[in-house]
Symmetry: C2
Subunit: 340 residues, 2 copies
Amino acid sequence: MKSRKSTIHDVAEQLGITASTVSRALSGNDRISQKTKEKVLKVAAELNYQPNRLASNLRTGRGNSIGVVVPRINRNFFSNVISGIESVTNPAGYNIMICQTNEEHENEVRSLQTLINNQVDGIIMSVSANTMNTSHIQKALDESIHIVQFDRVSNELDISKVVNDNLMGGYEVTRHLIEQGYKRIYHFAGPMHLGVYHDRYLGYMKAMNEAGMKVSSDMVFADILTRMQGLETTQTLYKSGMLPDAIFAASDFSALGVLTALKEFGISFPKEIGVAGFANEPFTELTDPGLTTVEQFSERMGQEAAYLLIAEIEGLKEDIEHQTINIKPELIIRQSTYEN
Amino acid sequence: MKSRKSTIHDVAEQLGITASTVSRALSGNDRISQKTKEKVLKVAAELNYQPNRLASNLRTGRGNSIGVVVPRINRNFFSNVISGIESVTNPAGYNIMICQTNEEHENEVRSLQTLINNQVDGIIMSVSANTMNTSHIQKALDESIHIVQFDRVSNELDISKVVNDNLMGGYEVTRHLIEQGYKRIYHFAGPMHLGVYHDRYLGYMKAMNEAGMKVSSDMVFADILTRMQGLETTQTLYKSGMLPDAIFAASDFSALGVLTALKEFGISFPKEIGVAGFANEPFTELTDPGLTTVEQFSERMGQEAAYLLIAEIEGLKEDIEHQTINIKPELIIRQSTYEN
DNA sequence: TTGTAGGCGTTATCAA
DNA sequence: TTGATAACGCCTACAA
């Protein structure tokens, strides 16, 4: 029985009243008598009435939904952020619509447009690696869409952001390596045009400088993000006899590659060499040795971003400046750098 | 400048024609002259016109969106499935709205309702561990909502499903263990009321029976899903001197617990004992020893589910029976069971 | 080929 | 407190 879904008109007819009265009864409007309200609720339940959000949203101009744009859904970091977002938005009555860009600028532009066309109340996003300009985001802002960025943010945009304190993370890892007595410490960095990786690099530089340890350009390798890249770079270093005392990789995946390569060569951790990654991916505690890394509190990032966005949407902070929440990371020390 | 967004009426006014003509020009209707069509498109672009999907959907009764309900977004398996779904639905013009149930029946009921109220065209779902009855799903079906289930499905429902051939997976793992010469093989099962785990158990039984190996009730442990549960159960076995030759765990996480516990006791793999898991979680190739497991092709599951659902939505198979797609898993042999 | 008119289901405004 | 009316933006018979 594919019975047409009942509307407020059906409820109204049943009771011999008008749709507006039913609407008031259902929406918690107080300009209604307790008695009719009860009757309406009763009949609505009987008819299995379910509000049509589309109609409601069209009328009110609000969508009760929030868009999320991420590079990849099935990355541990991003799926945790999404989980965090959802844990805040859902209780607050918002649905989330998710788009993934696969790191493509073009997809990001399209995703944003799609979400806007669907009248989302706001958007939480992390830019893709290939996003070099932000005109599409600016355009959305011009249409007064609320946007909050997290993790990979655009410094030139005046909007709220939630970021990890990557500089601090990079600094703490490097200082830990220095404290462990490693002298010649290399850095396997990510794409430097992304702030998150640039900041980790800056943290590395800061710690090295503070310790009076010189960093020459052959000690920093850019664009080493994947396991394979970490592995190959390490192999090259080994073959040319240029292995350092320690390697701080800006990504757990490249650190894993480093680990794999060094194990092949029979090098022992943390004695002969120290290795640290970044992100505290689940696998880092399972490698042999366990990988020293940095926890980013991804779920909390999502929650904070959601709080910020909802506050903006609901006008709880009309004239307050956009703010940037800086989440402090935490150094996780394991056997790849520390003998216990 | 928070200029009101332009509508087809704005475009129409600009050109001195009516909104319906604009609508036709924009929607690819052929009852329109090439000339006006071009003019409309030009002005639409100038005014930065963007269709309001809400209005369009309300009018047409179709939402161009698909709901996804999963126990947890940030589980590797589910985020991969979602990624697979998204890779099919997005190019086809559907957005996905995601809800997570956190394994709670109550949340599942609410999620379903929310999606329906938002007029999704269909729903792809995997039931939560605590979902014991399916009346909420049946109710949605009665309202002629298209639903496709994946992985954790409800056998009593006559709808399309995408499942992993868990029986085959369990069978192949167990047969592999038998072929490796292990005699006394235990099974750490999941919650038996979930078909996926029950089937893996049946696969285990089938292989054991075929090989003429008796299975007594003290060889099968139910509800061992987490790392901690696997660890503690193994410790208990060890302390009572009851360790088997091999353990087939229905979950990679519990297998990991087994591995951890046995390593503590200094037991060697695969010689003294063999361990196998299920799901090919990313960490399984990183443990020491690498963990033998079963690949489920999660991303493909998502794609297949999306194809099925879209076919139903778009009426491409009006009177065809609901079908169940059985995805063949693949045994991944690693050092926890195999010396190379 | 284009315009007219009405409605999708809801809510907001006004009047009663 | 309730009803009548209109409108959110779009689409689609039907008429012209």
